[in-house]
């Protein structure tokens, strides 16, 4: 993405994830490249099946193998290629340099261990501290994520906590190793609206306090706009547009990005006493993996489709302002609306 001089914290190049369950391999993540700087936040947005979660899982090499595998590309963490690292090395990286929190916090915690046992395990696997000391640190971590009454709740089993509290525990565990990168895969999707906002505020605060970089996976463009500096929009396994989040969402270049933004109901355009206006639709549906032809995957749904789009696939290339890229032969210029 950005060709800045400083070395990236994380540099993903030409990542390919394939499903090898069927007769022929099917590319689920296709030639994805991005970089993440120290302390930065990158949002990867897209609809279900676009490959955003698989991209996140491949960073930690926790893909659902053997059906799905990382088959090409490099994932360089401060220069070290994790795609080629040994399993023993990956065990150190997981919940070490890179932590992850998931969409369903209740399912992500071990139901037969107390919250405290799980956090203490996370602390002691990375630091040489005694049980008593680790427990004290765990209480402080729970306090830092605003879990009410942490001295008592540390001895609770996860089922006694609400979804929002479990997500706070997950964040505390993820931060226990002082990770350099935190991957958050739809961290608020399963939570109630008011709790969602609390958890997003907590993630932002944790990032400010610890300086960790964040990869935020979300389907919600507004969440990405609020929390991220950079955004990569994925469609059918590929990044179709990337760049600084404000620029991308204000002046989207790719027809898909533009369509997604226009499809969000705002409620503002409704005149008093008027008819309810039509929302802008993207016609058709997301293509199934493996059903893609030679051209642009979005071409069948695209309002700007030309003959070239169905014959040749556009690569993600720099367009317009520095740092911005789009995979489109006929990108839009100018602001939305």
């Amino acid at each position: 993405m950005n060709a800045s001089a400083s070395p990236a914290l994380l540099e993903v190049d030409h990542l390919v994830v394939e499903s090898v369950a069927g007769a022929a391999p099917v590319r689920l993540v296709d030639d994805v490249s991005f970089r993440l700087d120290v302390g930065g936040t990158l949002a990867i947005v897209g609809e279900s099946g676009c490959g955003k979660s698989l991209t996140a899982l491949s960073l930690l090499r926790i893909l659902p193998e053997p059906g799905v595998k990382l088959s090409e590309g490099s994932i360089r963490l401060s220069g070290e290629d994790l795609a080629k690292a040994s399993e023993a090395r990956m065990c150190q990286v997981r919940n070490g340099a890179i932590s992850m929190i998931f969409q369903d916090p209740i399912a992500s915690l071990n139901p037969v261990q107390t919250v405290g046992q799980q956090i203490v395990e996370a602390i002691r696997s990375h630091r040489d501290v005694g049980r008593r000391e680790a427990r004290q640190q765990a209480i402080e971590l729970l306090r830092s994520v605003h879990l009410p009454d942490p001295e008592t709740r540390i001895d609770y089993y996860p089922h006694r906590l609400s979804g929002g509290m479990c997500q706070r525990v997950m964040i505390a565990m993820a931060l226990a190793s002082h990770p350099r990168i935190l991957i958050a895969d739809e961290p608020t999707t399963a939570l109630d609206t008011t709790v969602q906002a609390q958890v997003m505020a907590l993630l932002k605060k944790a990032q400010r306090d610890t300086g960790t970089a964040v990869v935020l996976i979300t389907h919600n463009l507004a969440v990405a706009a609020d929390a991220a500096e950079d955004v990569a929009v994925m469609y059918a396994g590929r990044i179709v547009e990337s760049g600084p989040v404000r620029q991308v969402f204000r002046t989207p270049m790719h027809p898909y990005t533009r369509g997604l933004l226009a499809a969000i109901p705002t409620g503002e355009e409704t005149g008093e006493g008027g008819e309810i206006p039509r929302l802008v639709e993207i016609p058709g549906t997301v293509p199934r993996p493996g059903s893609l032809g030679a051209g642009c995957a979005f071409a069948p749904r695209c309002p700007r489709r030309q003959a070239r789009c169905t014959e040749e696939r556009p690569e993600l290339e720099s367009h317009g302002e520095p740092g911005r890229a789009a995979a489109c032969f006929y990108p839009y210029a100018g602001t939305l609306q």
Binding site: V195, Q198, T285
Partner: protein, 351 residues
Amino acid sequence: MSGALLSCRDVAVEFRVGGKVLRAVDGVDLDVEPATTVAVVGESGCGKSTLARAIMGLGPVSRGSIKLEGKELVGLTPRQLRPLRPAVQMVFQNPFGSLNPRLTVGRIVEEPLFVQGIGERASRRARVRELLEMVGLDAGSEQQFPHQFSGGQRQRIAIARALALSPKLIVCDEPVSALDVSVQAQVLNLLVRLQRDLGIAYLFISHDLSVVRHLAHRTVVMYLGRIVARSSHRSFWKAPLHPYVLALRDATPTMDVLDDAAKPATLVEGEVPSALDPPSGCRFSTRCPYVLDHCRAVYPELRAVSDVESVACHRVEIASDGRIRTPWGVETSVAERSGTRATRLEPVPAL
């Protein structure tokens, strides 16, 4: 009250859980007029889905009355309910779970006609084709099975099934929350078009404020089983009166954050308390930044603010000259909050 298609009065739904009483819905008054959309908004546990199920006759009703075109539904046996069912149909949240995977789409959409004993085989088939066309599905999809369709298309099938008996009211329980943004717009446009063409009313259960703002003529916000605010006016979300409505709006991520002038939202603390052990007085008092001792002691009844709006909050001041002051000190007036969004909607009488 005249003109209401559906009229709920003091509806309560209670469950016994381990010797305790869980009041999932606690004294709800709600009207739906023909050809209008009433949205019920709230977080999990607020009772919105339980209320929908009670209206459909799918759950128990402990107290109160639910009338459909003046006919009382509460207390009827399933056999007595059956002839009334065509008037009220339902679309569920999960289009993967709500369609029988072993039936063809044609058979799924035909089922309500079959159950009600309407028409002959040939006329029913013709009706099915008409319905599928109405929701924008290709001819020929009636031979296919649900698994051959995407989420958005399946929701169209569910809508076609709900339309089969020409209902006057469709209860939509989170009909687009399982769908992707690009498909969500298609389904919302379809619902709005069907309402315009067929005059259907919707009771629209949702937690998504942007969707509700788009299509609701009237909005009802619930918290822990009770209605905390309702309004037919567009100022409802722009200038909320109730602290919970403000909190809900501010917690909802929107594209407004791209605005340089956007100011950071104030967040309420804590989570929704357990419905098994709700706070005394105002249900929101444990999280409300403007709480007084009085709020913890006495439940605030819904008060009419204007002809189209009511609010259940002790701290909203309504002066006799029509000036209104929110708990956080914003001044507004009854005049600014009158009149409704839809011309066809009659003013909602104050209860």
